[in-house]
């Protein structure tokens, strides 16, 4: 349950970006959250909504884009998208896969009023 401390780190960036851009308000925030990032989007949403009170993002809407696992096979170079964690290449059966996407926890975009 570290969603709250992730949101605290998120707000450090949000507040810095708002300052840099002389924004009066943050009205929207979009995150990209990998399936393997180890966070629960619903919990992030709840943590965000309670944290935002009395901040520059008090009226902001949080949008979370979930990113599926994307891997490349090191043997046959096939690109694989998966929902589960059975990490075997469907084309050649190799288990030597490189993780391309699905671990990330990114602040993608902010909508500001300036």
């Amino acid at each position: 349950m570290h969603e709250l401390s992730i949101v605290a780190s998120l707000f450090e960036i949000l507040e810095a970006k708002a300052r840099e851009n002389q924004a009066t308000k943050i009205v929207g925030v979009r995150l990209r959250v990998g399936k393997l990032a180890g966070v629960v989007p619903e919990f992030l949403q709840t943590a965000f909504d309670s944290y935002k009170q009395d901040t520059i993002a008090a009226e902001a809407r949080l949008e979370i884009e979930e990113v599926p696992l994307k891997m490349r096979c090191r043997k046959c170079a096939a690109e694989i998208e998966k929902e589960d964690f059975v990490l075997v290449c469907p084309s050649c059966g190799s288990t030597d896969l490189e993780l391309l996407e699905g671990m990330e926890l990114l602040l993608d975009k902010i909508d500001l009023e300036v």
Partner: protein, 225 residues
Amino acid sequence: MSKKELIVREEILGSNKKVAAEIREKLEAAGVLVVNLLSSPGSGKTTLLERIVETLHPTHPLAVIEGDIETERDADRIRRKGVPAWQITTGGACHLEAKMVGKLLPEIPAETKFLFIENVGNLVCPAGYDLGENIRCVLLSAPEGDDKPKKYPKAFASADCLIFTKSDLIPYLPFDLEKAGNEALDLNPRLRIFVTSALKGRGIAELARYFIESRVNMIQHQRHA
């Protein structure tokens, strides 16, 4: 008033990663190998550390940071072995962060060669926080069950080494060591695997050797860099 769309594409935990990279750089330069131990509560992190301490101390000077939500108990267990130990009590937080480790760096004795960090007992949250370690170990004790790697993929996928603990209990449990090991290797083919029992002393010497060799490799790497 006008609207502005700002594309950021920044890692939310980027500031933790930055602090972790600074810690790693600083300690590598000082010849200190940092090991981060991750597992569920009660998997045997502190007991294993006690055995490792007995093996390395005093020929290989080491220091220990203990992370727990409350109490000094684990640090006290290590101090009793005559090794410097600091307790970080998070007061509720389920993981350690790099800045908590960073604050303790000035206190680490100059002769230190190994710094072991026992993370807060939790197989989910600590996996997202780099502490500046060179080696991340995930522990899995036999009573927890052999199905854990795929249930907690991030911990196993992000580790360098998997340590099975409490192997003395395997004969009494439906625990399939090979199945658990293979499941972990599916997630992470580069995992080094050790089978240990802190109670019986099994696998401790091999593990200590792995840490010593890893430190030698780290130092040789630096010379070449």
